[in-house]
Structure formats: C-alpha cells, structure tokens
Amino acid sequence: MTINPTKPTGAVKTMKIRDNIKKWLAYDYDLDAAPVMPDPVEPDVEAPDISFWRSLRRRGAHRALYYVAAVICSIILASTLILTVSGMPRYGEDAEFMDTVTYEYLAHGMEYTGAVNIVSGIILEYRAFDTLGESFVLFCAVTCVLVLLRIDDGKDDVSLPCHDLTGDVILSRTMRALIPFIFIFGIYVLLNGHLSPGGGFSGGAVLGAGIILLSSAYGEKTSGKFVTERTFRIVTTSALLFYCVGKSYTFYTGANGLHSFIGNGTPGNILSAGLILPLNVAVGLVVACTMYGIYRMFKERRF
C-alpha cells in the first residue's frame, strides 16, 4: 500500500475542519477569549470525528432543519387535537363523564362535608391531600425564588432598574379609596368559601394583590405593617402545619370510625362545614404571603 504525501489523510482533514470551526466560533462569539491553540497532533492517534450536528451548524443548516421539524411537530399536534375533539361527545350534553363519583359528590357532598359549595367540599374534604400538595408547591416555589433572587448584603446590588410608582399622586389617591374594598372583598371571599363561589386560593390572591398594590403605591414602609419577612415565615409555616395536623386528625378519625369533635354543623351557616373554613383561611394566608413574597423578590431582591 502506497501513501501519497500530497494528499491529506482523513485524520489530518478532520483536524483542519475542527480548527476552522474553533476559529469561527471564537470570531463569532467571544472576542476577549484566549487564543485557541491547536491541539498537538499525534499522527498515530485517530482524531475524533466531528459530529453530524457540528457539521450542520457550520453550514447554518441546523436552524432550517429545526424549523422544519418544529413545523411538522406543530401540525401533527394540532391536527391530532382537533381530530380528538371531533370524536368527543357533544358539548354541553349529559355525557357518561357524569359517572358515579360525580353523582356521589353532588348527591351526598353537602351531607358528608357540610359545605354548600360542592367544589369547596371536594378540594378541602374529599381531596384535601391534593390541596395540601398545592399549598406545598406554592411554598416550594416561593422558597426557590428566595434562593435564586435574594441579595443578602447591600453592597452587591445588581438588581435591574425598575419603574418605581411610590408617591405617584393618581395611584396613591386611588388606592386610598380602593384599598378597604379590596381587603373586605378578599376577606369575604376567603370566609365564604364553603357557602359561595370562592375559597382559599381566590381570596388569598385578592388579598395578595391588595398588599402588592399597597406596597407599589405607598412603598414598603406601609406594606411592611402587613407583611415583613418574619410574619411571612411565621404565617406560612404555621398555616401549613395547621393544615397538616388538622387534616391528619380528620383523616385518622374518619378512617377508623372514631368520634371527631369537629362537627359538620348546619349547612349554610357561616360556622359550619367542619374544618373547611379554617383550612380556607390557612390556604388563603399562604397564597397571600406567597404572592407578596414573589413580588418583593422580583422588585427589590430582598424583603
């Protein structure tokens, strides 16, 4: 077998292509980077072949390929969904989705849970464990935001510039008129969760929005009267603990047929429906504190 010295072998060719790619990348993206030194070539060792994707990238074709694949994916997804919809039972008709579970909820829900609002009875009595998980998801989210965005020492101030509305005349005057109604509405929705549409999440969201508006109109000094970091910690942890302990008690007594001192009361009264009212309050406090905490973290990067 003879070797032609003028014709480069496969390994040398690959090394050249790799060098070109490195130069191209360095030119394109990082002007201050250290100069790229070519790797010492050892002729006996087979150089690693450049991948298919890298060669595509060199020609700029990977983007086109990506878009073609994305268009095909989207068309397939949309047509599959539309076909599924056309095969479903008609909208607004009593389908077989109203199965025994739903009938059970509607027929005996008020009797078993004491809540007039069946949805509230489902989420805080039949599926209370699920709602506890939701509250913990919110708590974990605000903890993640705290870990990611918090600045502890004042010197490392890298927060992005933010449009500050504190002291704005229109906003502060409007808020002075509106804030009592916002808070009263939030508390109403919170406390009537078992009687009317609403409940812990919606009432807590209204309360949290009210605190956020207060803080954006009057600054953190005014809103600090409601929520500081200390109250945030105490309120969220104690509310979640109360939820755990109360619901464990009800589940334990209910599963073992023991007598529970928490009665259902008369459905329709404000003090009825067992633990649903206190659990609504606990969930609402967690939601309000979480919303305000997330807002503070994004705005000021500290409490």
Binding site: L25, A26, D28, Y29, D30, A33, Y67, A70, C73, S74, L77, A78, L81, I82, T84, V85, S86, G87, M88, R90, Y91, G92, E93, D94, F97, M98, T102, Y103, Y105, L106, A107, H108, G109, M110, E111, V116, N117, I118, V119, I122, I123, R127, D130, T131, E134, V137, L138, A141, V142, C144, V145, L148, L149, L160, S196, P197, F201, P267, I294, F298
Partner: protein, 125 residues
C-alpha cells in the same frame, strides 16, 4: 368531522394550546417561551371547564337543599382547574426568577446566545 361543530369550545381551547406550543417552539427569547407556556395552561383550563359544562344546569352550589345531581354541572373539572392554576403560577414564578439570573450572567435572553457563551466558557476552563 363528527362533532367538531358542536364542540367549538373545546376546539378553541385546543387551538389555544397549539398556539402556546408553537410559541414555545419558535421563539428564542425566554420570556416569550414563558408566555407561550402560560397560553398553553389557559387552553387547558378552558378545555377542562368546557368539559364540565352541561346545558340548563346550575353551578354546583346547593340552593334550598336541592341535592338532585341532575340539576348541577360537573364539579370535578372545576377542582382540577384550581390545581392547575396554582401549579402554573408556581412554575411561572420559578422560571421568571431563573430568567432574571440568566440575564444577569449573560446580559441577554436569547437562548442561542446563552448556549454559545456557556459552551465557550466551559471550553476555556
């Protein structure tokens, strides 16, 4: 096409879902990807809410001790939507804070540029 004309509400919900999916695929900006994900969530909520609706029936709040299930719509999708909303709010908050951190490090929100820069840095290390 079967019941597509009657199921217009579900169809609109799933078109909304597809719009969010396309936004997720075709934009390189992370904030736009986040908005696309929220549009997908809204499509899912609309789909669930329309699945639970039944003509000529009331919301599942008992009035006057009337516990006949024939008079009320399906309450289960409403409670599922509640779960979905909470989870989507949490996910949005975490993703936005991650986007803020990435912007502080790379001074851009374009995912291609972030990817290229991070690869350059790891090659020089």
């Amino acid at each position: 096409m079967g019941n597509l004309i009657y199921n217009y509400e579900e169809a609109v919900a799933l078109i909304l879902f597809s719009v969010g999916f396309v936004t997720l695929l075709f934009h390189r900006n992370m904030i736009r990807k986040l908005i696309g994900m929220n549009i997908m969530d809204s499509g899912i909520y609309l789909f669930l809410a329309s699945m639970g609706y039944i003509y000529d029936r009331r919301a599942p709040i008992v009035e006057g001790g009337d516990t006949n299930p024939v008079n009320y719509i399906n309450p289960v999708p409403a409670s599922l939507v509640l779960t979905g909303i909470v989870v989507s709010v949490s996910v949005t908050a975490v993703m936005l804070s991650l986007a803020v951190r990435l912007y502080e490090r790379y001074h851009t929100l374009n995912l291609d540029e972030i990817y290229a820069m991070s690869r350059r840095r790891s090659e020089h290390r």
